[in-house]
């Protein structure tokens, strides 16, 4: 049974605003699936529908075998959710929050207390457990949010931009915890706008733009789709045409960019040594040479014509207060 199965899922906020325009998804048990896209692409709206916080206006979705519209209570019992901007009460202590979460999931008080202790230890917040959340750093808040979403040992964990705004150390710490949870068997569905996060964590990546999935696959297969590794070279001295003649023996030439000469190299980094020898024999002095693997950004560019980082899709509606909700 798939952990998440989505068919033609849609969410319109008005006749003009279609935040999610019909997506299909299949996430297997035990997978880490990353939903990658710029702000406003429809990531959060999708997560809100899958976590029963927002009713779809079209299509269907099942999570842990339960329909999100027909059996929302069963879905909620099976999932853990850590939403964007960790929705934590700054006046509660970390321990109070996890205990409360345990009660919400029907866990008896004594057991909830034990789980709070275990989870605080797991995310390294034992010392801070009795401090108010308002005194926590951004990374501590995210770790607490993650811990609270695990209190009932969910089958499927939804993480909405779990590391946005965190420093690299905190980000790595969250990644480590997500990987550990996945090793224990938890299916993880995460949204992110960070290429590195999707590349590092995900078994499979879905790239979303303007409410539609434009590419899906393993990070390696997606990158392989858009091309081979390329060698980028800057000459210190010598004739660029002569250099391209030499480079042409090792791969297909690509158009130069800002004085950087480029060729596609199937062999990847293994091509460096023979290329350097050939250039040396031709009397060409190299200032820099690098082999660049395709990135998920290259995939995004190939599929949408724009770069992922810095890309802004048309804004999704704000959550809550207005007629249109949640992106």
């Amino acid at each position: 049974m798939p952990a998440i199965e989505v068919s033609n899922l849609q969410r319109a906020f008005s006749d003009e605003v279609l935040a999610v325009a019909g997506i299909d998804l299949h996430v297997d048990e035990g997978e880490i699936y990353a939903f990658l896209g710029p702000n406003g692409a429809g990531k959060t709206t999708t997560v809100r529908m899958l976590t029963t916080l927002l009713r779809p206006t079209g299509g269907s979705a099942t999570v842990a075998g339960h329909d999100v519209v027909a059996e929302p209570a069963a879905v909620r019992a099976a999932i853990g959710v850590a939403l964007q901007e960790a929705a934590l009460d700054p006046l509660m202590t970390g321990r109070e929050l996890i205990r409360m979460q345990a009660t919400l999931h029907g866990i008896p008080r004594a057991e909830g207390q034990q789980r709070a202790d275990d989870l605080l230890r797991r995310v390294g917040l034992t010392e801070a457990g009795d401090r108010r959340v308002g005194t926590y750093s951004g990374g501590m808040k995210r770790r607490l949010d993650l811990a609270s979403s695990l209190v009932h040992e969910p089958r499927v964990l939804f993480l909405d931009e779990p590391t946005t705004g965190l420093d690299p150390v905190s980000r790595k710490s969250i990644w480590g915890e997500v990987e550990a949870l996945n090793r224990e068997g938890t299916t993880v569905f995460l949204t992110t706008q960070y290429l590195e996060e999707a590349d590092q964590l995900a078994d499979r990546v879905g790239i979303i733009s303007n409410g539609r999935i434009v590419a899906e696959g393993t990070p390696a297969s997606l990158k392989a789709e858009v091309g081979k590794p390329r060698m980028e070279l800057v000459l210190a001295t010598g004739d660029p045409d002569k250099c391209m003649e030499v480079l042409g023996r090792f791969g297909d030439p690509l158009p130069p960019r800002d004085g950087t000469l480029m060729i596609e190299v199937s062999a990847g980094v293994a091509a460096i040594a023979p290329v350097v020898r050939a250039l040396d024999e031709a009397g060409l002095l190299v200032e820099s040479l690098d082999v660049v693997e395709p990135t998920l950004d290259d995939v995004f560019v190939a599929k949408t014509g724009q770069h992922l980082e810095g890309a802004e899709a048309p804004a999704e509606p704000e959550t809550g207060e207005s007629e249109a909700v949640a992106g």
Partner: protein, 257 residues
């Protein structure tokens, strides 16, 4: 049983939150206490006016008004706190949990009722310190606490409905001055017979007047069944309207996400 445990937990959190956020607790106690002190000290001779009910002191008369004011403010504060939860996304955390939707509102209302009871005890203690004599004794005092608790619960439904509809703490907070308008157009601080028109007519039909009279009754006279029933009817009326509005606002919020 599980829903009761959830409502209790959320109610406990609500009370903790009120005590930990000075801007929520201060209005419940400080404003009604100050108003009670100023009015009792400054207008104490009002009880000599012809038509004023027979009471030992103006303080005796005002005590019920201060309690109702605190209950109203508890309802308002509860609404503000719920709106803050919505604004910061905390409500989403609750909505993503396998609990009945109404438990989220019920938990908040449980906290509001607890704050109502707390303020009732505070004002009773204050009254006893300043020589108020409760004619109906201990049972009368308990009745007053129960009525103020129920009144806070009823007022809390209005605050919660506004919070759910607007999702904005500043909108709920903006209704704060209305509390005083509604109070002064009731018999909470002055007998209806001594009010000028149209305030007198409004006060005679204002449900707050019935609740205030029911709370005041054990202090100034012997137990009166009809006054108690009228007070309870006022609470049921306000609570019923508030619950209906809550239900509509919650449904709308869930529909919109």
């Amino acid at each position: 049983m599980r829903t009761i445990a959830v409502v209790t937990e959320l109610g406990r959190r609500s009370v903790r939150q009120t005590f930990r956020r000075p801007q929520l607790i201060a209005p419940l106690v400080i404003i009604p206490t100050l108003l009670l002190a100023v009015q009792a000290a400054g207008a104490g001779r009002a009880i000599d006016l012809p038509g004023f009910p027979p009471v030992e002191s103006f303080f005796d008369f005002l005590l019920a008004g201060a309690m109702i004011q605190a209950a109203l403010l508890a309802g308002n504060s509860g609404g503000i706190a719920l709106a803050i939860d919505i604004e910061m996304g905390f409500t989403d955390r609750l909505l993503a949990a396998p609990i009945p939707r109404f438990a989220i509102v019920a938990g908040r209302l449980a906290g509001t009722a607890a704050m109502g009871a707390t303020t009732a005890v505070w004002f009773l203690a204050l009254g006893l310190i300043f020589g108020v004599r409760i004619e109906e004794g201990l049972l009368g005092a308990l009745l007053m606490i129960v009525l103020v608790t129920l009144a806070a619960l009823a007022f809390g439904t209005l605050g919660a409905a506004l919070a759910l509809r607007s999702g904005s703490a500043s909108v709920v907070q903006g209704t704060f001055p209305l509390v005083f308008v509604i109070l002064f157009l009731s018999t909470a601080f002055f007998p209806a017979d001594l009010l000028l028109e149209p305030a007198q007519t409004i006060a005679r039909i204002n449900p707050l007047s019935f609740i205030a009279e029911a709370v005041r009754d054990p202090v100034i006279s012997v137990f009166s069944g009809p006054e108690l029933l009228e007070g309870l009817a006022g609470i049921v009326l306000i609570g019923g309207i508030g619950l209906a509005l809550c239900s509509l606002a919650l449904r709308r919020r869930l529909r919109l996400g």
